[in-house]
């Protein structure tokens, strides 16, 4: 369809989630914004192929995901670098304890296989249905479900080793802070 003002507004409205998705995937704010920019350029260049009435955010996410995939094959991700850069992309730094917990979560997320990470983000954070996530990733709905389950299971194992026994942020934070407090 042609690039109408309303379509332009809809694309604009999807930008914040596209950035969040890109940062979650790449772990790197600068690269994420490059991905978003390229996604927008491609989307607009190929706007004729967008079906009226279909899911615009899902279409845009598909473009971004495919760009990331091709980019990823070329450049290997550096996890240490990613952690540092991710923190810089945040406008408001979380409070100290929350920040430590947040870093730990980020590191655990980075340890997931890419298939599982993207499935978890699409369903658990972007709010896509399993069906939309499957369309974005070009796989079966059952595959997405299984990837999400495996991602959750692995995160749970990485973050909360003994299950409910040492559950909660306090143990984590205390362990990181060490003998800092009384």
């Amino acid at each position: 369809m042609p690039l109408t003002d309303s379509l332009r507004d809809d694309i604009l409205a999807a930008v914040p989630s596209l950035r969040a998705f890109a940062i979650s995937l790449s772990g790197n704010g600068d690269r994420a914004d490059d991905l978003v920019q390229e996604t927008l350029l491609r989307a607009i260049a190929n706007i004729d192929s967008f079906q009226v009435g279909s899911n615009l955010p899902a279409w845009l996410f598909t473009i971004l995901r495919n760009l990331f995939r091709s980019d990823y094959r070329k450049r290997r991700r550096e996890v240490e670098d990613a952690e540092g850069n991710y923190a810089k992309t945040l406008k408001t730094q979380p409070a100290q304890n929350a920040h430590l917990e947040f870093e730990e979560f980020r590191v655990a997320l980075d340890k997931l296989p890419q298939d599982q990470r993207e499935a978890l983000i699409l369903v658990g954070a972007s709010g896509f249905s399993y069906e939309d996530a499957a369309a974005i990733c070009g796989c079966a709905v059952g595959t997405i479900k299984s990837r999400v389950n495996r991602a959750r299971s692995k995160l749970s194992a990485l973050l909360y080793v003994d299950g409910a026994d040492d559950f909660g942020p306090d143990n984590t934070v205390r362990a990181v802070i060490g003998g800092n407090g009384g």
């Binding site: 042609p2 690039l3 332009r8 694309i11 604009l12 930008v15 914040p16 989630s17 950035r19 969040a20 998705f21 940062i23 979650s24 914004d33 978003v36 920019q37 390229e38 927008l40 350029l41 491609r42 607009i44 260049a45 190929n46 706007i47 004729d48 992309t89 945040l90 406008k91 408001t92 917990e101 947040f102 979560f105 980020r106 997320l109 978890l120 983000i121 658990g124 954070a125 972007s126 959750r152 299971s153 692995k154 995160l155 749970s156 194992a157 990485l158 973050l159 909360y160 080793v161 003994d162 299950g163 409910a164 559950f167």
Partner: protein
């Protein structure tokens, strides 16, 4: 380094916590809104032709015979 003692038996509390952290991380970025560069980009591009040019898909203005 933590040792992984069990992978199954996910309890609902842990899952809810993971979901919360994931969304918190994601929403932190969403709340930043639309950076100016993207707002301008979307405003400025008129359609397929303009986008192709901006993408560098077309002929550059000048090509002074690079290395």
């Amino acid at each position: 380094m933590k040792e992984v003692k069990k992978q199954g038996g996910l309890n609902a509390e842990i899952q809810s916590r993971i979901g919360h952290q994931l969304r918190a991380m994601y929403d932190d970025v969403v709340r930043q809104g639309v950076p100016d560069r993207f707002a301008e980009l979307i405003r400025k591009l008129d359609g397929p032709e303009a986008a192709t040019a901006a993408q560098g898909g077309g002929e550059p203005d000048k090509n002074n015979g690079g290395s």
